[in-house]
């Protein structure tokens, strides 16, 4: 059921206050989510805070049939947010090139980061049985313009710097790369944890990798 638009916006300082009746969410995860909401609300390399929140709204509208966001972003950005949110396995190179032609590669890459991190936060909430967190109130300001001028089209469909690795996929926009790097430690494993093949926390490493593999199977992601 669609939710009123007003329910999607909320101050970052109040975000992710998981109530005492909820399962306990680790502090590193709730802290990460607050950082992500703060990032989402602020200008990025190429989009303003209002535009980034609108991109997130368009992604949620497509994924959860939410109330439409205000029309702050181009139609191509709405299309890209919806496709990345709901049907990433259907994406092919000609479509990415069309989006990049309409938006520019940096804006497309930043949008991919915003929508992908939102999917991470929202899917965590669905798994835990928690209501989705309202989107943050956008903060004012212009995009930083911080683009990696060394990034080039190579093995992937977007310009990047570094080897053919998911780690560098968003390297065209340094803010997007840093935000992705911030996510995997609390949500999955730090690089040190990844090196421990017998790592145990709430789950064993094998159980974690079973979950990772099945998630990728349902998403039809070969990588």
């Amino acid at each position: 059921m669609a939710r009123p638009a007003s329910m999607w916006l909320r101050s970052c300082s109040m975000a992710f206050e998981f109530g005492p009746a909820s399962l306990r969410v680790r502090d590193d995860i709730s802290g990460l989510f607050r950082r992500e909401w703060d990032r989402l609300s602020r200008p990025g390399g190429t989009w303003t805070g209002s535009e980034r929140v609108a991109i997130a709204g368009a992604a949620r509208q497509a994924r959860f049939e939410a109330e439409p966001s205000p029309a702050l972003i181009p139609d191509a950005a709405v299309e890209a947010a919806a496709r990345v949110a709901t049907a990433p396995a259907s994406i092919r190179r000609p479509w990415v090139e069309r989006m990049a032609a309409a938006l520019g590669n940096p804006k497309y890459v930043e949008l991919v980061g915003v929508v992908s991190r939102l999917a991470s936060v929202d899917s965590f909430h669905r798994a835990m049985g928690l209501p989705l967190e309202p989107l943050p109130d956008p903060k004012p300001g212009a995009p930083t313009g911080d683009i990696n001028e060394r990034a080039r089209i190579g093995a992937a469909w977007v310009p990047m710097e570094g080897g053919a690795s998911i780690v560098y996929a968003l390297s065209l926009v340094p803010e997007a790369l840093a935000a992705q790097e911030d996510m995997h430690g609390p949500m999955y494993l730090t690089y040190e944890g990844m090196a421990q093949i017998d790592f145990v926390r709430g789950l064993t490493r094998a159980q974690m990798e079973l979950v990772a593999s099945r998630t990728s199977a349902i998403n039809e992601c070969f990588y």
Binding site: A85, V96, A127, A164, S165, Q207, S213
Partner: protein, 117 residues
């Protein structure tokens, strides 16, 4: 999927636990891993199930693996919801070396059906 199914294989080999990896792509198979069925049910329910299926799957994971196990599972699902989208939306290829070293594994799990290039 290839990268982390290979990490799953490495973890199982290092720790000596039982696993049928074909359960990743074939839900008629028992993964054999402790709590494995409950974890697979949770992933399926979060990504493609309804509220009732999600609640049932959550309770099964809590009963078998505890509350910390559920939090870890939710985090891993969230992380790979992100990573899968980044990989597919940027056209990130699997390295030739990984492809060359994984031919038998990919065939066993039927992973090549997910290749788009």
């Amino acid at each position: 999927m290839l990268a982390h199914s290979l990490m799953l294989r490495a973890s199982v080999e290092a720790t000596g636990v039982q696993l049928d990896p074909t359960a990743i792509t074939d839900r008629s198979r028992d993964p054999l891993l402790p709590g494995g069925e409950a974890l697979l049910d949770l992933v399926d329910a979060v990504l493609a199930g309804d509220d009732e299926a999600r609640e049932r799957a959550r309770q099964d994971v809590r009963n078998q693996l505890g509350d910390d196990g559920l939090v870890d599972a939710a985090g891993v699902i969230g992380n790979f919801e992100m990573m899968n989208r980044v990989a597919d939306a940027t056209g990130m290829p699997v390295g030739k070396g990984s492809l060359a070293r994984s031919e038998e594994w990919r065939a066993r799990l039927g992973l090549d059906r997910y290749r788009h290039e």
